[in-house]
């Protein structure tokens, strides 16, 4: 009886030790979700998601308290990148598809209403607003992420967000429709 018990416990201990060693030896480093999410988020701390900066959103997202589509400036690319590591919740697929239609937005200052108070200038997370006290402010469109932070703070409601204007440099043809039986629109190729 003692022999059997000791044999079993030796076996158990030995195997346990082996398992323990194997766990150490073949340990796979799993990256902490939080850091991964933070890396994907724009990192501008604009506050458009309603959380305390990008770190706040990352924390909420890792706990499942925020949807992956919560970052408007990041848009579709960020949502898709997040979907790969966080996993897609119920109904998120539709909202990602909806994000595809979202146009990039930029802030626009109505110069007639601007008093030069400098509040927006201080609030902008990417320093996209230039101006000085008592001077009319303006937005550097390439640096603006359309986060709305300046819109809320403007005392004279002189700032709105608009769709980023199309120029000849960023214009491109629409996707031709796959409509069978319809004449092809768009460029002329092969008309002759």
């Amino acid at each position: 009886m003692i022999v059997a018990a000791s044999a079993m416990s030796t076996l158990g201990l030995g195997l346990g030790l082996l398992l323990g060693l194997a766990a150490r030896r073949f340990h796979v480093e799993t990256p902490p979700l939080l850091g991964e999410i933070e890396k994907i988020l724009p990192g501008t701390n604009c506050g458009a998601c309603g959380f305390a900066g990008c770190a706040g959103l990352a924390l909420a997202m890792s706990e499942g308290a925020a949807p992956i589509t919560a970052c408007p400036p990041g848009g579709r690319e960020v949502a898709l990148a997040l979907a790969e590591i966080v996993g897609i919740e119920e109904g998120a697929e539709a909202s990602i598809a909806g994000m595809a239609e979202l146009q990039p937005m930029v802030a626009f200052i109505f110069e007639d209403h601007c008093t030069g108070c400098g509040k927006c200038f201080k609030r902008c997370p990417t320093d996209a607003i230039v101006g000085a006290a008592k001077q009319i402010h303006t937005v550097v469109m390439d640096a603006c992420i359309g986060c709305d932070a300046c819109v809320d703070i403007c005392p004279t409601e002189a700032i709105v967000t608009r769709r980023k204007p199309r120029t000849l440099n960023n214009w491109y043809w629409d996707k031709p429709a796959l409509a069978f039986g319809a004449a092809a629109p768009g460029r002329s190729a092969g008309t002759a």
Binding site: T126, T167, A184, R187, G190
Partner: protein, 511 residues
């Protein structure tokens, strides 16, 4: 009947024709025998500040300024840009936005000049004797004259010329293939101005330091070939004419180099890496005018054709002339055109507004009647492979198209989307009338947009980090100042307690 010599049979252009390609209805008979007409000065010219690839030129004139013909009105900005000159004399009536000659109908910064009808020349550029000039002087003159590639892409000619510093060049290839149907402006230029064109070629060859010049012409232009064959040298540099097969898209730079030299340009590389630089024949003529006569690029020859035009013709027009005026000069429209295109029928861009101006890169105005456009119904792909046979780049258009419609742009890039030259041979060859090249145009634009958005995101992240660092530094500096002040106060209190501290106002206590 003459037998082709053995040497002629061994020319690479006869053996290495481009793969694929199509043979569209030429339609060149409408204008091939029409001598180039000079169009009178229009009452209004609209000169866009961006007529070239690269950065926009900066306006140098203001409203109500009086300008003379050839005066610099737009200064090149940055390394990739081109000067803009006033095409005629008159008064600047607006420096603002006007619809671009582009299918998007978007506005573009434009200088509008009301001509005074006198067409008075201002001071021309200083002339240059190319025989004595060094390459840098010639390149500077071409840059001053605002010359861009006149084949359509409008790449600044001087920037291309500067590739001589980076690559070992040995051949200047002039592109007189003119493979697009309908267009005959290069054909007419080669016939009527062969001497000036050859001189321009010699000037460019001298600037590049190459040892030979080849002018490539498609076999369907025998008169142009005969006109050019009279010249064996240009400024002492050997010149020859290569006859290439009539086939679309023979005029693509990489395919022309393949046909003439037998060397294939690697994917996404430049022909300069093979030691060959390709210019349009029109560019060579513009260089001749700029160097010999000091005339900047303010006019160009273009083909006005299509069955909806009353009198199809080749016309020399001032840059900035409204398209509607050019059409009116050619007798106007005989019928409501189905489509008005700038450029050729294969790669040209449709425009909606006929008030848009002619720019440096406009090689043709086509008003096509419904009989000429092919508006057949789109059908499903039957996997016949016609597009694969037609593709001059050896791609599989049907597969790229399927991937683009499935939203898999990366997959389309993997099968060669970025090697597509957008010639449209696939869409032309497709028996199901599938808009293949249109899908590729869309996908390339979309990819460029994604790329720029990614770039912007990285840049804004950098800005945000810089801001955070700055704010942290400011907070830290403030905290340290506070601590120092506190320490000073404490020290003072310790040395002379009581009244002394109360005497000093707080502002002085903390310098």
């Amino acid at each position: 009947m003459a037998f082709p010599s053995l040497a002629a049979l061994l020319r690479p252009s006869q053996i290495f024709a481009v793969r694929g390609g199509v043979h569209p209805e030429p339609g060149k008979h409408l204008t091939a025998e029409a001598e180039v007409l000079d169009m009178p000065v229009p009452p209004l010219v609209r000169v866009p500040l961006q007529q070239h690839s690269g950065a926009m030129a900066e306006p140098l004139v203001r409203r109500d300024d009086i300008v003379l013909k050839g005066q610099l009105i737009g200064q090149a900005r940055g390394a990739m840009s081109a000067n803009i000159h006033a095409p005629t004399s008159g008064r600047v009536i607006a420096v603002g936005h006007f619809t671009a000659p582009h299918p998007s109908n978007l506005p573009i910064p434009t200088i509008t000049i009301r001509s005074d009808g006198e067409d008075r020349w201002g001071p021309r550029l200083p002339r240059l004797r190319p025989e004595d000039a060094n390459p840098d002087e010639i390149a500077a003159q071409i840059e001053r004259a605002g010359i861009v590639g006149l084949g359509g892409a409008a790449f600044p000619a001087a920037v291309k010329l500067n590739q001589r510093r980076k690559y070992a060049l040995d051949l200047l290839l002039l592109n007189g293939a003119e493979c697009e149907p309908y267009l005959t402006c290069d054909d007419r230029l080669m016939r009527e101005h062969a001497e000036g064109l050859v001189d321009g070629a010699g000037i460019m060859a001298r600037a590049l330091g190459v040892s030979r010049i080849v002018i490539a012409v498609e076999a369907n232009k025998p008169e142009a070939i005969a006109a050019l064959r009279r010249y064996k040298h240009a400024l002492g540099i050997a010149l020859s004419v290569a006859v290439v097969p009539t086939q679309y898209p023979m005029g693509s730079a990489k395919h022309l180099v393949l046909a003439v030299t037998g060397k294939e340009t690697p994917a996404r590389a430049r022909t300069a890496e093979l030691g060959v630089l390709v210019y349009n024949v029109g560019t060579a003529h513009a260089v001749h005018l700029a160097v010999r006569y000091g005339e900047p690029l303010i006019s160009r020859i273009l083909t006005v054709s299509g069955r909806a035009i009353a009198r199809p013709a080749n016309v020399r027009v001032l840059i900035g002339t409204p398209v509607a005026d050019v059409i009116a000069f050619c007798g106007g429209l005989t019928a409501e055109p189905d489509r008005v295109l700038l450029g050729g029928p294969m790669m040209g861009l449709p425009i909606q507004n006929l008030r848009v101006p002619v720019v440096k890169g406009t090689c043709g105005i086509l008003a096509l009647s419904a009989a000429e456009t092919r508006a057949s119904a789109q059908m499903p792909c039957i996997r016949c492979g016609s597009c694969v046979q037609a593709c001059p780049c050896g791609l599989t258009p049907f597969e790229m198209n399927a991937r683009i419609h499935a939203g898999d742009l990366d997959g389309a890039v993997k099968v060669g989307l970025m090697d597509c030259i957008a010639c449209g041979a696939c869409a032309y060859a497709c028996p199901s009338s599938i808009p293949l090249v249109q899908a590729f145009d869309h996908a390339k634009g979309k990819l460029a947009e994604t790329q720029s958005r990614k770039h912007q995101q990285e840049e804004t992240r950098r800005l945000a980090i810089a801001r955070q660092a700055r704010e942290a530094a400011m907070a830290e500096a403030k905290r340290q100042a506070m601590a120092r002040r506190k320490a000073e106060m404490a020290a003072r209190k310790a040395t002379e307690p009581g009244a002394a501290v109360a005497e000093l106002p707080p502002a002085q206590a903390a310098p």
